[in-house]
Subunit: 339 residues, 2 copies
């Protein structure tokens, strides 16, 4: 490394949160960065993805990935630039993405990083449409939802990282896209900027009535990011043989009481419908294929990636809460350093 | 008709029940039976199937079949004998099954009846293993559950009409069959008489703990007839890529408050599992094929049909409640008349 080893600031999980995670669950640590051993790569973190799933990783107990251990650096996907490399594949100046963690520098094995091309798309797009949220939308909608041209696709969290892509892929698939989002600004964004056919403002409208109005033939595919009351409203408006993708339940992640189960789940029986959980990691073998198709759609102007970029590594705890307060429009990205 | 036209007693729905349907929701009427017009058949009802689904048919509102109208004869599947026929296919003395209704005589178009062979199986079996409950178990388990040899299949309501068949077909499919039922007598019945690998007494055991014990590799297929707390317990013990068949929710049918949604539904996400509703009517085109296979299993001694036959047309209202009080062992059948 050309310079004196820099100091690495880190957000570590100090305690398991109850409800919304405030500052008390975090411990900020500093350590000097080590040089990469053979096979390792040292990455300067430029952007971190702030995701609703992070809240789940903070809980103890079985989930689709192990919980973040108490005392460990908080898990986060990020984009960075290589500053020192112990592997011939990557050289200083190369851009990479991976699970970098909420820290300023990440020292990782080569295999934990994917090289990305900063000339093809701005770096934050690799955390949005060309990253996990885009891949989640792609595989969840197309592989599980199997939308057919002419069908109606409804997505909740429609102005968020995943939902905004789901609606656009629904349109590309020849479907009617109806988004549920909070507030007039988000609703205008998804219809006017992203081309959704209709938007429902759950903060200002009766969702069940609005679904009836905007989905006169019922919901064929419902992509759920939020759970709770909105999932229950969608269940009342299913078309026969509807498919529900359970991608997340952001309304329930900070509950201090039990999760609210979908009381209308017997609509699955009435409508011979199906509700399936998905985790994007399962599709890793097909990420390349999907990313190429998505990049093609972006190049053709059919798919827009929208990032909501906020700055300041030290503001991480408060920025994370923006997700649960519905403050972000598009993919929430924390800018950590200049590239 | 050879004799003076008989009187037909009928149970008609007088009011929509709130909670358990007591005598006040029924009206008993009497009318004399009309002669069949060309194409019609007059059937003397011998056995009526008492089914949990009947509770749902008594409610107003959209479901997979229209509700029974106020003032109409209560809908019920039955077996009977032809007493007069206006159609060349059927002659007096022939046995038939169909939606005969809770009455002593049914006058129906030929197309509403299926001929059955009383020499092949006792008549009540055509309301059990060789009737809708058996077909429901067959298509729900095999078509939706897709059990693979070596997998673990769990069924609730395991001593009931559908559940008792589900577990036996699971065994025939090379699976481990675990049944959940209420009380030691039912548990002994499904393990000792029907060959289930294990039984869980939900009245005497912690279902979640018992599932953990009896399904050490998790639940691959869960066939749900009951909903409520038991569905929630099953959700906590799913294996990866588990399939849940939503066939019914008997624990919730008489609720006077909202249905209890499955609070643990996010287990679908963690385990990439799927929950699908089924209605046996959708498989009508394949009933013949299924009934032939089931009859073959019965002849080979691999599948037992168990009926719980109670007598007395006039006792219908009280007999129906046996289902919701968990009093029946096997298929509950009301004997209306001698054959």
């Amino acid at each position: 490394m050309p310079e004196h080893n820099p100091t690495n600031r880190q957000f570590r999980l100090a305690a398991r949160p109850v409800g919304l995670p405030d500052r008390s669950v975090w411990q900020v640590t500093e350590e000097s960065v080590a040089d990469p051993k053979p096979g390792e790569v040292l990455v300067k973190v430029l952007y971190l993805s702030l995701d609703p799933a992070m809240r789940g990783w903070m809980n103890e107990g079985k989930s689709y990935v192990p919980p973040v251990a108490i005392g460990a650096v908080m898990r986060a996907v990020g984009v960075g630039v290589v500053v020192a490399s112990g592997h011939p594949d990557l050289a200083p100046g190369d851009h990479v993405t991976g699970i970098l963690g909420v820290q300023e520098y990440a020292l990782l094995p080569r295999a934990a990083l994917q090289k990305i091309d900063a000339s093809k798309a701005p770096l934050p797009v690799y955390l949005a449409a060309l990253g996990w949220p885009g891949l989640t939308a792609y595989f969840g909608l197309l592989d599980i939802g199997k939308p057919q041209a002419g069908e109606t696709v409804v997505v909740s969290g429609a102005a968020g990282a995943v939902g905004s892509i789901v609606g656009q892929i629904a349109r590309i698939s020849g479907c009617r896209a109806v988004g549920i989002a909070g507030g007039p600004e988000k609703c205008a964004f998804i219809t006017q900027e992203l081309g959704f056919d209709a938007a429902i403002d759950y903060k200002g409208e009766d969702v069940k009535k609005a679904l009836r109005k905007h989905c006169p033939k019922g919901i064929d595919v419902y992509f759920d990011n939020v759970g709770g009351e909105i999932l229950d409203a969608a269940l009342t408006q299913l078309a026969m043989h509807a498919r529900i993708i359970v991608c997340g339940a952001i309304s329930q992640y900070n509950n201090t009481t039990a999760v609210k189960g979908p009381a209308n789940y017997l609509s699955l029986l009435v409508n011979r419908a199906t509700m399936t959980g998905m985790v994007v990691l399962d599709y890793a073998a097909r990420f390349g294929e999907a990313a190429r198709e998505m990049a093609g759609w972006m190049a053709a102007g059919k798919l827009k990636s929208k990032e909501d970029i906020v700055s300041g590594f030290e503001t991480f705890p408060e920025r994370l809460l923006m997700l649960f307060n519905g403050e972000n429009l598009g993919k929430l990205v924390l800018k950590v350093a200049d590239g």
